[in-house]
Amino acid sequence: MSDVYEELTEYIIQNQRQFYRLAYSYVREEQAALDVVQNAIVKALEGYRSLRNRQYMKTWFYRIVVNESLNVLRKAGREMPCEEEILKDTSQKEQLRQDAQYGNPENVVTEKPEELYTAIMNLPENMQTVIKLYFFEEMTLLEISTVTGVNLSTVKYRLYQGLKRLKGYLKEGVA
């Protein structure tokens, strides 16, 4: 058994809670999130040879977790258990977003702070991933670029777009 392999298993065990949370933030259901984590481990350990440099262990494994999460979402299609809730939520938020974007401050300030979280979770997938990895997983933009497999300027673009949409959820505007 190679060193990289052992390091990888150690890394997975140590950080399992983070992987679970990230998976859960996509699939929003306990059993589905556990499945994501399990599938990610199986794929990672079966394909560990494609991890050529241990420096990339973190981003490499996160990439698998994100891909697996999105796979589950894609497979579940419109049948995700909380889909209805999200849809309802989204239509309201969409209005608020529009207000925020086109300047309708009254609506914006009535937002409760904890709703920022829901707002993040309702962002389009590519913006959501970048924001979660940056703010919750505290990755650098470069790391995010490796995880998502797009170049740095695209990461910045998505982060910018995502944050713009979230502007309305903050009490104080952003300079």
């Binding site: 065990i13 949370r21 933030s25 481990i41 494609s50 702070p113 300079a175």
Partner: protein, 337 residues
Amino acid sequence: MKEQLTPQEEEELDSMMRLEQEPEFCEALKQYEQIPIPDELDDLVRNTIRNQMERKKKTMKKTEHKRSIKIAVRTLGALAAALVLFCIPLNTNESFAKQMQSVPVLGKLAQVLTIRSYSYTENDTNVNVTMPEIAAKDSADSDAAGVALQSAATDFTDEINTQISNIVEDYEADAKARFEEYKESFFATGGTEEEWAGRTCDINVDYEVTYQEGSVLSLVLTTEESWVAVYGERYYYNLDVESGKYITLQDLLGDDWVQICNESIDTQIKERLAEDTEEQLLYWGYGRDEDEYDWKFTTVTEDTSFYINAAGNPVVCFPKYEIAPGYMGIQEFEIVK
């Protein structure tokens, strides 16, 4: 659409990236961190890793076996040019009570003798082994040339038989060790004798002759443990006993064998996926797995396993995990000549 920021937007982004200090963001992060972690997560993670490691060990072993078989072919290929007769010394193991058994002559020239067939029970483990040894039918030819050829032929068949015998012995020992380990951890984690009662492990080794025509022989040796379904392992032997050579895919399909196999396998994978309306099947890098990981099926090699079926066609076999996830099992593809 180009996903690119203008310089002003870049600046704006810089200030936005400091949002994590805002109370709303702290609140959101707190909510994220409060996603409850189910109790079974740790067990699931550790068990999944343990299972994967066991499988990995198996695969590595298998590769070693394949390599040594190939060396045997190279050394003996030249020697064994025109052999006719063989004589195999019986190979017995005194440590276990065994029933000796022999199987009727199968063909005109080659014959497979089951010379070791034994079963015994030890520490909740039931071992059943039916192990083939390969020989050719004795001929009346006993002049000096005949004897010389016979000795070279014995080397060839000895190699194969030793190979088989080593695989079986190693496997038996490993399987027993694995079961012991399992038993140990069962009690170490608070399992009681009552709960254990009745748990046994069957270790089975068997073989199947898939093709037998003239001196050409194809057989598959299988090993399995009853308590874990994942350990099914196969070893393939395709032999021309008369010429003393291993039969290759090239022998069966001609010089274009690589291309023929690759095209056929690629087509068959696509056909299987096309018929699979419920998305039960998954091949790395195909269909819904496309573009995702860089280890899809690309080509057969000299190390690719196969056996010959009753129709005389090679059936290419990929072990679990090689071109598809483990649940797909061993993947077989008949290559029609």
